[in-house]
Structures are given as C-alpha cells and as structure tokens.
Symmetry: C2
Subunit: 158 residues, 2 copies
C-alpha cells in the first residue's frame, strides 16, 4: 500500500481508493481525448492536450477559464510504467531544456487492488518549502480533489 | 555536426574534436574506475563515484580538494544512449526527489567521426541567467577545459 503521507516538507500528497481499474485511470491520464474530459475543474475546460508519453517526451495541456483565458502547462515525462506509474515535471519544457521555473514533479502511482478498485496516489514534489506552501494556498487539496472526482467518474465508465 | 554555440542565454557549451573513440569517451564517463581518473582537475581527486547509469538512476561523485575537503555531487540520469549520448541533472538527488537547488542539466553527445576521433559536446543548461553567469565566473570554461584534457588523455589510451 502506498504511503499517503508526504515524505518531506516540500511534498503534497493526494491518496484515494478509486472504484475504477488501474488500466482505465492510466488511460485517462495518457490518452488526450480522455484527459480533456476531466483534467480541469469545471467550469474550466481543457481544449488542448498533446501527450508524448515516453521518458523525455513533452506534454502541453491547455486549460481554458470561463473568461476564455488560456493557461498552457508544459512538461516532460520522466518515467513511464504503463498502467502502474507516471512521472512528469515542469522543470523542462522539452527534453532537456530547463523551463523558466521548476515548480513541481508529479509522481502518480496506480495500484491495482484486484477487485476493480485502485489505490491511486499523486505525490507532488517541489524544490522549495515556499513553493509547496504556495501550491497549498492556490488550493491544491480542493483543486486536485475536484479533478480526481472527475477522473474517477470518467474512469469508472470506461 | 553538433552546433557548438549555446542555444539560449542560460546555456554553456564545450565542444571539442577528441582523438579517441566515442565508445571510450563514453566508458570514461560511465565506468567508476575510469571516471575517478579524470573527473576532477588535478590536484583535486575523485575518491568516490557511484554511477547507476540508466534513466532515473542516481549518481554520487565526490571530489576531494588538496586540503582534504570533500565535495559531493549528486544527480540523476535523464537519458542514456550507450556510446552516443548521456544526460544528467542535479535537479534530483534520486528518482524523483527534487534537490535543494536545481542548478544544471548536462547533455553530453559523442559523435563518432569514423576515423578514431570523436566530436564531443557538453551542453550545460541552467534554469536562470544568473546561474549560467555564476557557473561561468566559477571558471566553467577553464575547469571543464582542463577536465576534458584529462578525459581525452585517458580515453586515448583505452
């Protein structure tokens, strides 16, 4: 069982038992047409998702606010274990160009519980305590919580 | 031919045609017993080198000054293409723990020229212009130049 506690004071963790299979949660994270359906907390939308899912592959995910403002997020995949683990960071915009600001590295694990459910853990590491605090104040727990509800709902139906 | 110019103002580049085969330059970077012989500019020494050469593998290279002060350098390999390319960064201390300070990402390319020589390029990216300037003032060009002389001398004899 994954440890749902942060391993240090620069980390935020979301851990949830989800009523969906690991393979489908992984699909929802790696197939653009699926990711667009759950990634942004509604009424925000995700009009664009380019996902080159391999170590060193880049991603570009654009969220769009209700006022039509686009928020592009760029990152690079660091580790890819199909249906089990996905690691990406915004420290690079493409392999291996440093970004303007390394903010976080996300480690997702999908632990298949064998009964159709998955122990899902999102571990979000930051380079500084300040960035972890900023992320918390930006509403990490609520925001990622809402998105994870949307993810769970979608994956359940796959 | 690799472009020896920096691709942006946060990058430093060392490019050299070396009279040694690509495979032997790669060995000198990836085999601990070889790396220890050239990595630090003499009279500095490299008493320890732990190199887990695979994507996500960690490295620990300890340099020792003439006054016996040890300087440990920790990093993680991002991309490994045997005999051709090696990428590592100090942004992580192990897969995928953010370090205290992401300072640089090093991309080494070993282009075999087919006549026993290699077009060797070390491209060192930084997250900020300030860090690039700091690295330059720390003596990047002279320091990496001296070490590359030592690397070339060793690889030539392999």
């Amino acid at each position: 069982m994954a440890n749902p506690e942060p391993t240090n004071d620069r980390e935020l963790v979301l851990n949830r038992i989800i009523d969906a299979r690991a393979v489908n949660l992984y699909r929802a994270w790696t197939e653009p047409d699926l990711l667009k359906q759950w990634f942004a907390p509604k009424p925000y939308l995700t009009p664009e998702a380019l996902l080159d899912v391999r170590p060193g592959g880049a991603n570009l995910i654009v969220m769009r606010g209700p006022d039509e403002t686009d928020m592009p997020n760029r990152g690079v995949y660091l580790e890819v274990v199909p249906n089990r683990k996905l690691v990406f960071t915004d420290a690079f915009t493409e392999a291996w160009q440093p970004s303007q600001k390394p903010f976080m590295t996300v480690t997702l694990t999908f632990e298949d519980l064998g009964d159709g459910r998955t122990n899902y853990t999102a571990r979000v590491g930051h380079w500084t305590v300040e960035d972890r605090e900023t992320h918390e104040k930006m509403g990490f727990h609520q925001g990622w919580g809402i998105c994870t509800d949307q993810l769970a709902e979608l994956a359940k139906g796959l």
